[in-house]
Symmetry: C2
Subunit: 345 residues, 2 copies
DNA sequence: CTGAAAGCGCTTACAG
DNA sequence: CTGAAAGCGCTTACAG
């Protein structure tokens, strides 16, 4: 990488002169047109780009926000990030402190390729979200150079903001049980995510314990997209004996399924009751037709909490393995468990 | 802000020693426990935080990505940003070059309070999205210190990636005209955004020219949220003579309206035909009930284009006022203009 | 009109 | 076990 000195040498002037020209003070300092042209030519030839760190160091006028890396798996639905970012914004306004949040997309299972955790001078701190099992193993094996908070994961070693995934599955199963169901189907997002697996286990095991049968063919795997839900619903409809209880591991999938059910005249909740895990904005499931019963993951609040911990870590006044467990409220809406007006029964 | 020298002075040691301790090399370098404790105490007392710029400058090991500020109005639906970020990701992979994208939420009409454009050493470049009229005036009046690309806005002065907002309104009106409508209603997001105003004008003026009447009471203003659409739809239903053509300036509002229509047994498109401006993910309108006809703003492609221009500006090989106008295709779906099977007619 | 030099806050060989 | 010094790449008074 060319430096200002290289440019100066090539142009046959001093570094100071190059700096003046590059900072648009050429006319103010009466630098000759000729010199200016020589310098700009050298800049182009060497593909010179100023070193921002050196600039910042030199001219201290500018308040320097801490830079926080947000590691977000690139194949995770970006609109989940929307909720997260909303929470981040809340936090900065609550803390009266500003952070530069840098979005760092990473490929699941390849977190170890990222440099930000290994160096102390890229970011001041990091939030790591949507780790896969092997990413977690990697994290357990290293000691990052910067403060780290895990989002929606737990570890003894790190600060973490998380939910009880198993319980989410349990509560969904219990609601089905309460509604008197004896068999159920599941739509699962295919993914490498531990959290989702744990949720499924919670659901499946609780079903078993409460006399709800889940036949192997009633477990439908799909992409974690609306379209994935559409495909899954088509499979569901074609089952020999579609259960009247459906658990969707992601509300995105549930929305796709609703689309198909509405189109095909399958009534929710009369023909099939649905519970979904609330990952996307509450709005999306609140105003679907019908509104969906969800076990809600409070992303915004969790994100706010993340930033507060990070802020504390940077200031050295938070314990190095603080964990906050968030509750995941069951929001009962028309798709399952709601008391319906007589006319609709 | 305390420096390493301050810490060294307070602890009564040299700056080098402080550095060694802070970098976790104390035991390796056999620094006495006593010294370590003195230093850490001084660090805490002074609330010392290392200057990342100085670190970066000193230890050049780490590749330094250009930092791009993404100015995004904080009251704009964050899930629009989702689409934008998806486009950004595509760009970085296409360019084989990495950028640090820093999310900079700003308050509309207060872009002038942001420092990033005024200094050359905070960010390397900026993308500015969702400017209000007065933000645009501000931008016209200044010369930013860094390369800037406008997103979904146009200016002679800046690079811009934009769409023909007027035409979006025109095409929606023309489709209604083709469907034989003689009157129409509009649901508008209340906002300070020029783009939305222009769209409305395009729609209203074209309606007028084509004999479609829009009564003042048929113009419904609402929040740009699903809930806003719900409220708007309730007002729509209570109109004395609700038109059979409805233009929504935002698909988010349209989704809220659909919720109400479905609930109240108002059939789309039989009872009312809907065209919406496609701002959120295509998925969301593709799998609603019924799927929505939209004039789509190709956010992802526009974002990709933004980054490519930025990359060119940084490398000095793109013109300083390059503009790219994107097409906004009309996507015909069931809510308006689709050829329906006989059974549904 | 332009150059030489100081110094921003760090880290790291080197010396002792 | 610790300190003094050099130097990363810039910018900016100062000198001429």
């Amino acid at each position: 990488m060319a430096t200002i000195k290289d440019v100066a040498n090539l142009a046959g002037v001093s570094a100071g002169t190059v700096s003046i020209i590059l900072n648009g003070k050429a006319s103010e300092r009466k630098i000759s047109i000729e010199t200016q042209e020589k310098v700009m030519a050298a800049v182009k030839e060497l593909d010179y780009r100023p070193n921002i760190s050196a600039r910042k160091l030199r001219s201290q006028d500018v308040s320097n926000n801490p830079t926080i890396a947000l590691y977000w798996a690139s194949d995770v639905r970006v609109n989940l990030m929307a909720r997260f970012l909303r929470g981040l914004q809340n936090a900065t306004s609550q803390l009266g402190r500003n952070f530069d949040i840098v979005i760092c997309p990473y490929k699941n299972d390849f977190l170890h390729l990222e440099n930000g955790l290994k160096h102390r001078n890229i970011y001041n701190a990091a939030i790591i979200a949507n780790t896969s099992v092997s990413d977690m193993e990697y994290l357990e094996s290293i000691t990052p150079e910067i403060p780290v908070v895990l989002f929606n994961r737990f570890s003894d070693k790190y600060c973490a903001v998380h939910v009880d995934n198993y319980k989410m599955g349990v509560e969904s199963a219990l609601l089905f049980s309460k509604m008197g169901h004896k068999d159920a189907a599941i739509m699962l997002a295919k993914s490498a995510y531990l959290a989702m697996d744990i949720r499924n286990r919670g659901f499946v095991e609780t079903c078993k314990n409460n006399g709800i049968e889940i036949l192997p063919e009633n477990i439908i795997i799909s992409d974690n997209t609306i379209e994935g839900g559409v495909e899954a619903a088509k499979k569901f409809i074609n089952l020999d004996n579609p259960p009247k209880a459906l658990f969707c591991n992601s509300d995105t999938i549930a929305l796709g399924a609703l689309h198909v059910f509405n189109k095909e005249g399958i009534k929710v909740p009369e023909d099939v009751e649905i519970i979904a895990v609330g990952m996307s904005s509450v709005e999306n499931t609140e105003f679907s037709n019908p509104p969906l019963t969800v076990v809600n993951i409070p992303m915004e609040e969790m994100a706010t909490s993340c930033i507060k911990i990070i802020s504390g870590l940077i200031d050295h006044n938070v314990e190095n393995s603080t964990s906050i467990l968030f509750d995941t409220p069951l929001i009962i809406r028309d798709s399952c468990g709601a008391i319906r007006p007589k006319s609709a029964q």
